[in-house]
Amino acid sequence: MSDIKLSGLSLIATLMAGTAFAETEITYWSFWNEPEPQAQVLKALMDEYSAANPDVTFNVVWNGRQNQTTVRNALAGGTSIDLMDADMDGLNGGLVGQGAAIALDDLVASDSPDGGTVGEAIYPALLANAELNGSVGQLPYAFYTYQIFYNAAQMRDAGVSATPATWAEYMDAMKAVQASGVNAIAVESDIAFYNINWFNYLLARIAGPDFVLKAAEDKTGETWRDPAVRQALELEAALWADGLIPEESKGYQWPAGQQTLAFGETATELVGSWLPIELADQVDEGFEWGAMNFPMVEGGKGDVNDTIIYAVSFAIPDGAEDADAAQDFIRFALSKSAQQKMADDALIGVANASVEWADVISDSREAVANATSLLSENLGLKVAYADYSSNIYEAMHNKVFLGQISIDEFVDGMVEQTKGYWENR
């Protein structure tokens, strides 16, 4: 049976399976802004769901990225919210981590409209990230991958035919791009959470994905003196020293760096899989996107298939009046047909492993399918110690990455600040 027929059947089954709810209004506070394509897809899904369940309507508040903060304040003021969404790490460090969301383990184990359970339909590595302290308090439905995105035509013109698997191959490829007359790598100087991915990936490849958390949790701070840190920073510094990142990038404010990709002046950028969508209106017709995994560092302990992601999840605040209806909607939103619509119309990666992604991010889907594990932002630091992650780790790294401090100053600074952080906690 063709995929289309299967999708059609699953949609009918999903709608028919709609649980009967008496006059229910699901209050949904959204992570998206209303004009965004993701919001438009969710609107369409809500309409579809209401058509199948005429007693269920939605009251939606489109809050945008500060949704969780707004939800927190509203909950504190006594507002009842049945369903909300936010980024996965944010939820694990916020609503879910603070015990203010209901457990969704039963929903994960419940039947999916497509057969099997809801949990079985989701990428196992992604679902694993949603688990906190042995329980699932959020269900991811969409996500982005951090990879090296590139202009495939420029890579070909530079003679780069094979995807670089190691750091040495990667450097050779970037030098070839540079020699072809195009800048090799774009960066945004002011976006520390973009730039930190160089360090995150290098440390994950050299010392393994647990290293950063281990270093942050070392109350003496001395783990930051590990040779892996220095090696990672020296590899980063070589990108600047070899001219692969233009010196003037130090003055780029977002989106100045990524625009150089759109203008055909730069070939690659390490960034989230939202880049092709953000630049969709600026690139020439026929612009050919590619994305490669961050290369392996020779002799490292990590895995080249580990991929850092940024996921968006549904959660149900504790005390939600219509929690059952909200769970049923999540079940529907994670069905194959609903997820396919999200992937096709919003051009975003989706949680349901059986869904194909849009062409521009097909390499990202491949990375996810082959991933040994999907790593959270800042390798778990953002969830465990958000203030350390933002105020110390990202801030200090941006200084060394942009040459404001030396590698020695970075190492000494991290030791001192980590020690101070724990003494001051």
Partner: protein, 294 residues
């Protein structure tokens, strides 16, 4: 007696509003600063002055504090020097007084996000207006400056901020100047006073009260400065641009990170309040003098 009762009657509504919407919330702010509280739910742990002890040892707090002081004093210096300079020029009888007033005030009616986007274009290292103009007049070396690099971004933001605020204080000062009787300047002209003499010996003393209130408004604005540096930082405010207001927001509300330390953020708010209050008292004491009537 009746007069006193009547005064009480008229003052009561204003006092009640002030009490409910200012004094009580301020009291609660201090109260919450004594707790470790994420803001999720009502569970908060009383920790006494621990948040203040943490602030004392927090390098990011001191960075934000230094930036706020730089903004207050360096920014304030340039804002008022320029505002006074324009006041002299505009009041010197040049053509188009109203037009200039409008032009200088215009940034205050434009959205902060639009202004920051405009300045991002001005500072862009490749095609920005500033570097392109510098190169066009032969200043090639200066035209290669990375104005928004980590070393320069705070001062670049401050320059833009001075541009925004100068117009506002210019309007305040001009409003004061407009009230000065013209015969004072005429008499000074007859005595052979130059522009500077007229400004220093007539304008400044006559608008002393306006200057005092302008300084007070600037202190309040500078201590709680948030919008412009925040918008200037676009997706993620670089730490170089942190002010006390931004750090409060980051710690209490997160930006991209689930920090959610509302008790700690509230302690920053209390420090801001104390700082603004102390500076205002100081300025008012330093600038106290007999009322001039004319």
């Amino acid at each position: 007696m009746i007069g006193k009762r009547l005064i009480g009657l008229f003052v009561t509504p204003a006092l009640a509003i002030y009490l409910c919407f200012f004094l009580i919330p301020t009291g609660f702010t201090f109260y919450f600063s004594l707790f470790d509280w994420s803001g999720f739910g009502t569970e908060a742990q009383f920790i006494g002055f621990d948040n203040y002890r943490r602030l004392w040892n927090d390098p990011t707090f001191w960075l934000s504090f230094r930036n706020t002081l730089a903004l207050l004093f360096v920014g304030g210096f340039f804002v008022f020097v320029l505002a006074f300079l324009y006041t002299i020029l505009i009041n010197s009888g040049i053509w188009g007084k109203k037009l200039f007033r409008l032009v200088f005030f215009l940034p205050n009616v434009v959205s902060v996000v639009a202004l920051s986007a405009m300045w991002a274009y001005i500072y862009n290292p490749r095609y920005g207006l500033l570097n392109t103009s510098l190169k066009a007049v032969g200043l090639d070396e200066m035209g290669r400056t990375l104005w928004t690099s980590p070393d320069n971004i705070f001062w670049a933001m401050l320059a833009a901020l001075v541009w925004v605020f100068t117009g506002f204080f210019l309007i305040l000062l001009l409003a004061g100047v407009d009230k000065i009787p013209p015969d004072m300047y005429e008499a000074a002209d007859l005595e052979g006073a130059n522009l500077w003499h007229k400004f220093w010996y007539i304008t400044v003393p006559m608008i002393w009260d306006v200057m005092t209130i302008s300084f007070v408004i600037w202190i309040i604005n500078a201590v709680k400065m948030f919008e412009f540096p925040f918008a200037f930082g676009f997706l993620q405010v670089p730490q170089q641009l942190y002010t006390l207001g931004i750090y409060l927001y980051i710690m209490g509300f997160g930006q991209r990170d689930p920090i959610y330390q509302l008790g700690y953020a509230t302690a920053i708010g209390v420090v801001m309040l104390v700082l603004a209050f102390s500076l205002i008292v100081l300025v008012r004491r330093l600038m106290r003098r007999d009322q001039l009537e004319f």
